[in-house]
Symmetry: C2
Subunit: 258 residues, 2 copies
DNA sequence: CAGTGGTCTAGACCACCAA
DNA sequence: TGGTGGTCTAGACCACTGC
């Protein structure tokens, strides 16, 4: 080996063990993995530029094209943002040019100002079986629960509960959340170094119970959109379970299929 | 010009007119546009292979790499499917390896058999203002409306209405829809040459009215997921408006964010 | 075995940005 | 003006498929 692609001499050839699945992994995938490790280790902070393609190519002893393809995939996964003439930057939930990255609820017509947030509750508790399963914890592990309401133009629109691993988000308080400006995920990045990278949502229609109805100023039994979101950091580690109840009388959940 | 990239001599340089926006368009984008035209014109049918990268490169007087990048984008948009060692194929809703391409409703647990369909209604009528606006028609233009129920394991789960431009889908009958096996969008491809390429969905929670409740075997007022889908063919031409009501007591709408 | 898509390289040049 | 990402080419070789 090492003759056909001389510059990849010190990278895994990935076919040493004659296992059932040869598991051939192209060079650019390995480079992608290495960049991912640096990203994960915090070598470059959110919002910062990563080294130029040339630099990375030199560092990994690989051609620029190979680095390019690795970064292409990272960019496609929104882990990194390319800006021509400037560089490639670590994606962030702060200064995200356009609103909230994971919130797909949009007003039926027109624009709207920023959300007004009110924290209703923020407490430490022990993980229920369900929460533990979702967050890959053990039942009874410390968990932080936050409940809040988001309003648009004075109309309460979203009631959501968040569950966070207690160990990772040790110092989080209601005051801190109330004081913070911008997306909650930006706060997670800045204060706890936790970067949400992707999420899965399960959506249902449910009827509002008495308490929910009161908090969202709708009738009891009114239909609400239930959005259960599980957010992941790097390496598919689940880091937040969130259950939102959305009023959809003036807003709707927008999704693009292809 | 024509000196730096000699092989692109006969393709638009796209910067002839000194307009406000230079509108620079890279070669591979132009190639993509040309392939798109052929796709659109039906030069290759859904499921068929398009010419090899080498052939296309020769045809457009361009390097293989440039064609490759054009096809990469088409593949990313699901207009085309690459299969190593075999070729590149026009995407289709038939033989789509995995279930229904645009349906994001999945059972809460386990798998399930295919849907049982029952066509409730199929009639020709005149477009309402709302339908006309969605389908880019004029109010009063001929429109075809189909109503049906999909059941899983005998449980009615989806009630949907579809509105289709009457001119394009002239001969469509309830019998035809009932007889057809597989995705409805496959039927559209085979019988009418209409390929749905992307779609936008607006999702809300609503309460079932008396009729809807009866058809879905739920109580009146029960919360249902309302999914309004507008599907497009090539060139962003809207071709179908569909309004589905989903029961979400045993299923949920699944969405992945990144 | 030939043909297809997939990877990798090396080098040239272009578009964009900031200083 | 120099650096960054973006485009384009040409050629070599690899992995997969089917005859």
């Amino acid at each position: 080996m090492a003759t056909s692609t001389p510059s990849s001499a010190d990278l895994a050839t990935a076919d040493q063990a004659p296992s059932a699945t040869p598991a051939f992994s192209p060079l650019y995938q390995q480079i992608k993995g290495l960049i991912l490790q640096s990203l994960e280790a915090g070598e470059w902070k959110p919002g910062e530029a990563i080294p130029s393609e040339m630099d990375l190519a030199a560092r990994f002893r690989v051609s620029q094209g190979t680095v390019r393809k690795a970064i292409d995939e990272l960019a496609a996964e929104n882990l990194v943002v390319r800006r021509q003439g400037k560089g490639t930057f670590v994606a962030t939930h702060s200064e995200q040019h356009v609103r909230y990255r994971f919130l797909k609820l949009v007003p039926d017509s027109g624009d709207e100002g920023p959300a007004q947030r009110s924290i209703l509750d923020c407490r430490r508790l022990r993980a229920s079986a369900e929460v533990a399963r979702s967050l890959a914890l053990r039942t009874g592990d410390p968990v932080l629960q936050v409940r809040r309401v988001l309003s648009f133009g004075g109309v309460p629109t979203i009631l959501e509960d968040m569950w966070l691993p207690g160990n990772t988000f040790k110092g989080l308080t209601a005051e801190q959340m109330a004081a913070h400006q911008g997306p909650t995920y930006a706060l997670f990045e800045l204060e706890f170094g936790v970067r949400m990278v992707r999420a899965e949502e399960k959506i249902r229609a449910v009827a509002a119970d008495a308490q929910q109805a009161q908090l969202l100023a709708v009738d009891e039994g009114a239909p609400l959109l239930s959005v259960e979101r599980l957010s992941y950091t790097y390496n598919d580690v689940p880091m937040e379970l969130r259950r939102g109840l959305y009023r959809t009388d003036t807003h709707h959940y927008r999704n693009d299929l292809s």
